[in-house]
Amino acid sequence: MISPRTTIIAASCLAISMAASVLVQRHNDQLRPGAALDDVLYISSPTMVKRASLGFDGLMACIYWTRAVQYFGYRHHYRELSYNELAPLLEITTALDPHLLPAYQFGANFLAPKPPWGAGQPDRAIRLMNYGIAHNSDNWQLYYNLGFVYYTELKDYKKASEVFGRGAEVPNAHPFMRVLAAQMAQHAGEYETARRLWSFTYHSSRQTNIRENALEHLRSIQVDEDVTNLQDAVTRFGRRTGRLPASMSELAAAEHLPGIPVDPDGHPYIMSPEGRILVHSPGDFSFITKGTPPGYKPSAPKFHIKD
C-alpha cells in the first residue's frame, strides 16, 4: 500500500533538491565564467574523433559543426579576442564529413580575419578550403570561398583571380565567378568588387554570424566609399575656389547634392576645420578604413542586425 504522505514528502524532496541543484549550478557558472565552453576540445585529432564515432561520423560531424558555431558565437558575444579552437573544430567537422559545405563557408569568413573578427589564421583557412575543394571538386562555391580569403584577407589579387578563374570552369558555376576573376586580375573598381563579394556572401548564407559579418562589411564599404567621394569633392572645391568649404551644406550645394550626405545609420557626415570628412560615430562601423579622426582606435566589435 502506497502511503500518500510518503508520496507527497518524496515528491517535495525531489522538486526541492532538483531546484537547489540547478541553483547551485548557476552560481558555479557565475564563479567560473566560460568554464562550460572554454575547453571545448577534448580530442584534437580529426582521425581519432572519426575512429571514435564508430562509423556514425555524419552525426558526429553535425555535433562538431554545431559546437564550432556555438564556440564562435559565444566568444564573439563576450568580445573574446581569440578563437584558438575554431580551426581544429572546423577541421574535425570536415574530416568527419568532407561534404558539410556550410563549415567551409564559415571557415572562409571567420578563420582568416584578424582578431577580434576571426581567428587570424588565413593559412589554416586556405588549407581548409583546399581540403574542401579536394573532396568536392564539382562545387564552385568552395572556389569562391577560397578566392574570398585571398582577396579580403591577404589582398593577393593574382591568387584570388586564379582561384575565381578555376571556380568559373566548374560546371554550373555562377557567371559572377568569371566577372570576379577578371576584376581581380585588373584590380579595378575595388569598392564595387568588395560590395559584390560581401553581398553575395550575405545572400548565399543563412547563418546568422556570416550574414551579420557580411552586413557589417557592406556598411563599412558604403562609408569608405562615401568618405572617399566627399573627400574628392572637398579637393575639387578647394581647386575651384582656393579655399575649403565652410560647411557640409556649402559642399553639398557646390556638388549639387540633394542634401547633406548621411552614413548608413542616417547620421550626416562631418567636416573638420581642416577639410577632413569624418563619420559621426566611427565605433558603429567596425571595418571602416576612412572617416575616422586622427589617432582613432577601433572599439570592441559589434554586429548589426538587418531590419
Binding site: 564508430l54 562509423g55 556514425f56 561520423d57 555524419g58 552525426l59 560531424a61 553535425c62 556550410p102 548564407s205
Partner: protein, 258 residues
C-alpha cells in the same frame, strides 16, 4: 518456414512485446521530436542533415542494443527457466528452436524499425515542411540497418548458444565495435607480411563488416548508394547471418543440456 519455426518465432516476438521491449519507442519518439524542434534553431543550413543523421543513427543504435540484450538471453533464459526442456520434449528439433528464435527477434526489430522510421520521416517533414524525391533514399539506409540487425541477432544467438548472458553481451558488443572498424582492419592487414598477414586478413574477413552497411551520411547528403552495393550488401548479410546461425545450430546441437 515450417510451422514449428513460425510458432517459436511468434512466441519470441510476443515475449519481447510482453517484456516491454517496444517501450524504447517512447524514448526514440522523445529524442527525435526534441531534435526536430531544436534542430531548426541551432543547426542553420544543415537541418535536414541533422535530422536524417540523428534519426538513422538512433534507429541503428537502439536496434543494436535491443538485438544484443534480447539476443543474448534467448537461449540461456529458456535454459534457466527450464522452459527449453518443455519445448524440446515436443517434436521440435534444436535447429528449429534456434532458427525460430532468430526470426522472432528479427521480426521484433523489423517492427521496431518500422515505427522508428515513421518517427524519422515525421521529424523530417516537420523540419523541411515537405518531402522530396531524395528522401526515398532513407529507405535504403533503413534496409541496410535491418541487414545489420540480422547479423547482430545471429551473432547474439551464436554466443547465447554456448556462453553466459554477460559474456555473450561482451562478445556481441565487441564484435559490433570491431565490425565498425572492418575497413581499417583490412588496411592494417595489408601493412603486415607473411603469416601475420594471412592471420590478420583472415581475422579481418571473419569479423562482420558493419561499415559497408552504414550509408547514413551518404543518404543524408542525398547521394544514392549503387544498386550493386544494395545487392552485394544483401548477399553479404544473408551469408554472414547464415554462417553465424549455422555455428549456433552446430554448437547448440552438441550442447549437453542435462
Amino acid at each position: 518456414m515450417n510451422a514449428r519455426i513460425a510458432y517459436i518465432a511468434s512466441n519470441t516476438f510476443r515475449e519481447a512485446v510482453r517484456d516491454r521491449v517496444l517501450y524504447n519507442l517512447i524514448a526514440f519518439a522523445l529524442l527525435i521530436s526534441g531534435a526536430a524542434i531544436l534542430v531548426g534553431q541551432i543547426s542553420i543550413d544543415i537541418e535536414r542533415l541533422v535530422v536524417v543523421n540523428l534519426g538513422l543513427t538512433a534507429v541503428s543504435l537502439f536496434g543494436v542494443v535491443i538485438a544484443i540484450f534480447i539476443g543474448i538471453g534467448l537461449v540461456s533464459k529458456e535454459i534457466e527457466k527450464r522452459t527449453l526442456y518443455t519445448v524440446l520434449s515436443r517434436p521440435v528439433r534444436r535447429w528449429e528452436f534456434i532458427i525460430g528464435k532468430f526470426f522472432g527477434l528479427a521480426g521484433t526489430l523489423v517492427v521496431n524499425t518500422f515505427f522508428m522510421a515513421i518517427g524519422v520521416f515525421g521529424a523530417l517533414l516537420y523540419v523541411t515542411h515537405r518531402f522530396s524525391a531524395p528522401d526515398a533514399l532513407i529507405f535504403v539506409a533503413l534496409y541496410f540497418i535491418i541487414l545489420e540487425f540480422l547479423i547482430i541477432c545471429s551473432l547474439a544467438l551464436l554466443f547465447s548458444s554456448f556462453s553466459s548472458p554477460l559474456l555473450s553481451a561482451v562478445f556481441a558488443f565487441s564484435l559490433f565495435v570491431i565490425g565498425s572498424f572492418a575497413d581499417d582492419l583490412r588496411g592494417f592487414a595489408g601493412l603486415t607480411h607473411g603469416l601475420t598477414r594471412w592471420i590478420a586478413t583472415t581475422a579481418a574477413y571473419l569479423v562482420p563488416n558493419f561499415s559497408t552497411l552504414n550509408v547514413i551520411n551518404a543518404v543524408a547528403h542525398q547521394q544514392p548508394p549503387s544498386v550493386q552495393l544494395v545487392l552485394q550488401n544483401t548477399l553479404y548479410a544473408l551469408f554472414y547471418t547464415a554462417m553465424a546461425l549455422s555455428g549456433a545450430v552446430l554448437i547448440f546441437e552438441r550442447r549437453n543440456l542435462k
